[in-house]
């Protein structure tokens, strides 16, 4: 069960950033009112830089096997708005955990037990820490920044959000690029030899079971037994306090007392500093470092594991400290394993439990994951199969080696039951247990326990060389003698310059990775050229966008600065956005349709890749002139078909500099004249659409001129007439006059007046000319079916066309009314200038 919790813990941590430390989790939580079996919530307390938050995670599996199985349901910051309480339920083995945050209330069912007590304690502690420091919760922003629809107020920032609690939908977000940091760490470790060199450090390890005695003797003979001051000390005690209080409350004055005597006892020729002190009931472990190395000690962390009463109390078990010295990870474990001669299996089990449950809550988390482990303590293994007398006799003869064969630890290690792959130095000292107090005499009491090497120091890891391993007979206050071991251990020391180089190189490689993961596409052409673009004769070109990257590329043509469209109005892009998978292509059609008077078309398209670069695609082409897009005033000034007019002539016509040659445009006259002769009796003249080619033929006939008769059916010619009137630069009734015309529409005289006073000759003549033609049509309404009303509404929208093309026409009725006046009244010659 506990190892399951450890696994889940690791998975939960993976859901967060490395700097966001999961302090505590509670598994199998269900929401009150929810189905009981739905206990798939995991309450998680996370700390980032002294600010805490409670995350409610939902697991998609009974046991999550990856962080992607977890989704964040709610995030609740532990600030002053946070409160919680528990409510017992009579006769049930669970309590209701009630969490309040502002106006929100959450209720969870959690089983009563150690897990829940620990969790509650962690929250209380976290809340205290939060309130005592000015905390910043901006780190939580990202956890709701990615939220979707479920919660509408998710966009507002933390500060102005009155309901801060956030709900996030099912899936795990943004985890694709799992922790760059840990990737970097991993890569750095692989390349460690490149930027480190081994340097020998002396590590002094000591262990002593002090049998509940206070420190009344100096520890110098033990801790300062070496000539040169060690670089690092790891001093472990067992049984510093055997009182009930210590056992129950895990609090003892002896901690400070023993710690002081340690600090007094360590080598006088150097200054030392305590790195960490870990204690559980009577077990205490201090790691102390020579001042000169203090700055190279990093990532210190510790934990304790109780394996005593009920398998968890702290009278037995282990305490551990882990740290990194320069670039080597070290772990020190001080243990006190189960007592009694026959209990060696229990001791083996304690050892396993300590390994399984010791959790440093950071990377690496387990004892075994450290490069060097020093295991010390009262392991409590005894000498078997020999009587007290036999043991003592062998000792008198100094046959330590023979005796060691009967040592349970050696036997169990040989069988692989405990401390597998640990090394122990040769034991040259006599057993350190059990002595009569204040003497060097083995137990003379009634129990007469045979002597045993209970106090041991072992190690695991590369580059560790033991210099000495001995007991210290001078210290007599306990029934155990202290043991010490001095190691020369290879620590990899970072060469800052080389480190920087490797670090930089790795970053660069990872950046490159990052750059590689940017979407990449190529387009087969950056310049799309159209030749001779003609009025309403669409042309298209295809460009091929190929995804040459390793991630799907979402492309979109985007607007240029200060433009409201992604391309000019003569261009259509199909599709203008899309997604292309790696190795695949997308054909994009660029379609030009010219409806205005342009000499050239020119546009720069921005093909944007979401999260990547932008590419420019230039679209260009020259345009062919056409009468359709000219102004009336230009058309009446050019004598020959527009394509034959000389450039200078055309330009001066365009600038209204040349004389007016016609009262209405020649092209208009040609069309209307044709219809006079061939179309007056044609039914639905304006309502059937012609073939595209027909219209193009008529267009070219007008633009180029020809000896041939006007091609096309009357309907096609009628449509061409409508086109011409619709596309000429300025409508026959100019935009700025349309409103007054519409306003005057109810009265013919007013309309007539407007026409005479406001419209210039060219426009007025053209208008009357068209209306006279329409009146002519009305005369043949029996054949063609056109009533004045129909024609008025048809031509109202054309002669008074709107500025915005292709939209629903505005004020059609008013326009029709205006035109109607001129279809049913006599158009006296006074309207037409000579």
């Amino acid at each position: 069960m506990l190892s399951i919790q450890q696994d889940v813990y690791n998975i939960v941590q993976a859901k967060f950033l490395a700097a966001e430390i999961v302090k505590s989790i509670h598994l199998n939580v269900s929401v009150v009112d929810g189905p009981l079996e739905n206990n798939n919530r995991i309450l998680t307390l996370v700390e980032y830089n002294k600010s805490f938050a409670l995350f409610v995670l939902v697991s998609s599996r009974v046991q999550p096997i990856s962080f992607s199985d977890l989704s964040i349901e709610s995030v609740i910051p532990l600030d002053q708005n946070f409160s919680f309480e528990t409510e017992p339920v009579r006769g049930q083995n669970y309590v209701i955990l009630i969490i309040r945050y502002k106006q929100n209330r959450y209720e969870f069912k959690i089983e009563i037990g150690k897990e829940s007590c620990n969790f509650a304690a962690e929250i209380i502690h976290a809340k205290e820490v939060s309130l005592n420091s000015s905390t910043n919760f901006t780190w939580l922003e990202k956890y709701f920044g990615t939220m979707n629809q479920t919660n509408k107020n998710s966009n507002s920032s933390i500060n102005d959000q009155n309901d801060f609690v956030i709900i996030r939908d099912g899936m795990a977000q943004g985890q694709a690029s799992i922790n760059r940091e840990s990737m970097l760490k991993y890569q750095l470790k692989l390349r460690e030899p490149e930027f480190t060199q081994k340097q020998e450090f002396t590590i002094f390890v000591g262990t002593w079971n002090v049998n509940g005695q206070p420190p009344t003797a100096s520890l110098k003979s033990w801790l300062s037994c070496v000539e040169t001051p060690p670089d690092l000390y790891a001093i472990g005690f067992q049984e510093i306090d055997l009182s009930k209080e210590a056992f129950i409350f895990n609090d003892t004055p002896r901690e400070a007392e023993w710690q002081k005597s340690v600090m007094d006892g360590i080598h006088p020729n150097a200054k030392y500093r305590l790195v960490a002190l870990s204690r559980l009931v009577g077990m205490q472990l201090a790691v102390i470092v020579n001042n000169q190395h203090y700055q190279y000690v990093k990532n210190v962390s510790m934990d304790t594991v109780g394996t005593g009463l009920l398998g968890k109390m702290g009278n037995k078990g282990g305490v551990a400290v882990r740290l990194e010295l320069h670039n080597t990870s070290l772990c020190f474990v001080n243990c006190h394993l189960a007592a009694h001669v026959d209990e060696f299996e229990r001791r083996n089990q304690d050892y396993k439990d300590i390994n399984a449950r010791m959790n440093f809550r950071r990377n690496p988390q387990a004892i075994k994951d450290h490069e060097q482990v020093y295991w010390l303590g009262d392991l409590n293994y005894r000498i078997t199969d020999l009587t007290n007398l036999q043991v003592k006799t062998l000792l008198q003869r100094n046959e330590v080696t023979t005796l060691l064969r009967s040592d349970q630890l050696n036997q169990q290690r040989e069988r692989g039951n405990v401390l597998l792959d640990y090394v122990e130095g040769d034991i040259a000292f006599h057993p350190t247990y059990k002595f009569d107090l204040n003497s060097d005499i083995y137990d003379t009491s009634e129990k007469a326990r045979p002597p045993a090497w209970t106090d041991r120091i072992l190690w695991r890891g590369k580059g560790i060389h033991q210099v000495h391993y001995k007991s210290h007979m001078e210290l007599k206050i306990s029934d155990h003698k202290p043991v010490s071991a001095l190691f020369k251990s290879e620590i990899s020391v970072v060469d800052q310059n080389r480190y920087r180089r490797v670090h930089e190189d790795l970053l660069k490689k990872m950046d490159k990775h990052e750059n590689e993961f940017l979407p990449q596409v190529t387009v087969d052409q950056n310049e799309v050229v159209f030749n001779s673009v003609k009025f309403r004769e669409p042309q298209s070109r295809e460009i091929i966008i190929a995804n040459t990257g390793v991630v799907p590329a979402d492309f979109e043509f985007i607007n240029k600065l200060n433009e409201s469209t992604y391309c000019k109005d003569w261009l259509r892009i199909v599709p203008y956005c899309g997604s292309i998978n790696p190795g695949e292509k997308c054909d994009v059609r660029l379609e030009v349709n010219l409806e205005t008077d342009l000499d050239n078309i020119d546009d720069i398209l921005i093909l944007h890749l979401k999260g990547g670069k932008d590419m420019f695609i230039t679209v260009s082409g020259s345009c062919q002139k056409s009468c359709f897009t000219q102004s009336l005033s230009t058309l009446v000034r050019i004598q020959v078909p527009i394509m034959h007019s000389k450039k200078e002539d055309f330009n001066s016509a365009r600038n209204n500099q040349s004389p007016i040659l016609y009262s209405v445009p020649r092209e208009l006259w040609l069309l209307v004249d044709h219809l006079y002769r061939h179309g007056l009796k044609t039914r639905d003249l304006f309502e059937s659409s012609a073939l595209h080619e027909e219209l193009i033929r008529i267009r070219d006939w007008l633009d180029y001129g020809s000896q041939d008769p006007l091609p096309g059916t009357p309907q096609a010619v009628a449509e061409t007439l409508v086109l011409l009137l619709s596309y000429i630069k300025e409508p026959v009734i100019p935009f700025e006059l349309q409103d007054v015309c519409i306003a005057a529409a109810s009265n013919f005289q007013n309309c007539r007046q407007l026409l005479i006073q406001k419209l210039n000759d060219i426009h007025r003549t053209t208008f009357i000319y068209i209306c006279m033609f329409l009146q002519e049509l009305v005369k043949h309404s029996n054949d063609n079916g056109y009533e004045p009303k129909t024609l008025a509404s048809l031509f109202g929208d054309i002669l008074l066309r709107d500025q915005i093309r292709n939209a629903k026409p505005q004020a059609s009725r008013g326009k029709a009314n205006f035109v109607y006046n001129f279809l049913v009244n006599d158009l006296s010659s006074s309207l037409i200038p000579k």
Binding site: L17, S177, I178, L277, N299, V300, K508, M510
Partner: protein, 215 residues
Amino acid sequence: MSTGPYNYSYIFKYIIIGDMGVGKSCLLHQFTEKKFMADCPHTIGVEFGTRIIEVSGQKVKLQIWDTAGQERFRAVTRSYYRGAAGALMVYDITRRSTYNHLSSWLTDTRNLTNSSTVIFLIGNKCDLEGQRDVTYEEASKFAEENGLLFVEASAKTGDNVEEAFLETAKKIYQSIQDGRLDLNAAESGVQHKPSQPGRNNLSNDQQTNRDNCAC
């Protein structure tokens, strides 16, 4: 844009501008890949490169936009100035015309970025000493008169390339430090990221240790 978990504190946006062929893309490539591209095609668009650097112990992700230098794209590339925290303005020391156009690039930069944008002038191709067309002194004077940082660099040899990018970042970081650059302004070109990694120093840990000890 998908940013995964951050392990940098800031994102700085840079733009690289200057006449075509002055070596903008090569400078970017040299900075991100440590390689020189001997025949680099014209940039037709805006290339995007990124690299994470360290400034005063803070990790900063540089988001670099390398713009097309061709005159015909000038109007379009103007849309990319916005929100740049740093602008690298490049000319080619072997082509005087690219130097003469600097004032127009500078005008654009001043008009289209905000006052705190750090502008760094780079005289590129300094490996081609024999073909030099603009003296160091002259450009240096121009930079000084206009309050620009300035180096001569070579995207080919890598000379001063790293320096130009990093100096710019340092300057930006300074502006943040002394409050001249308002992080909250939408167009500061700097984004602050919540996580601050690399803070695993001892003092922090001692803190947490003490908390743990309470149990």
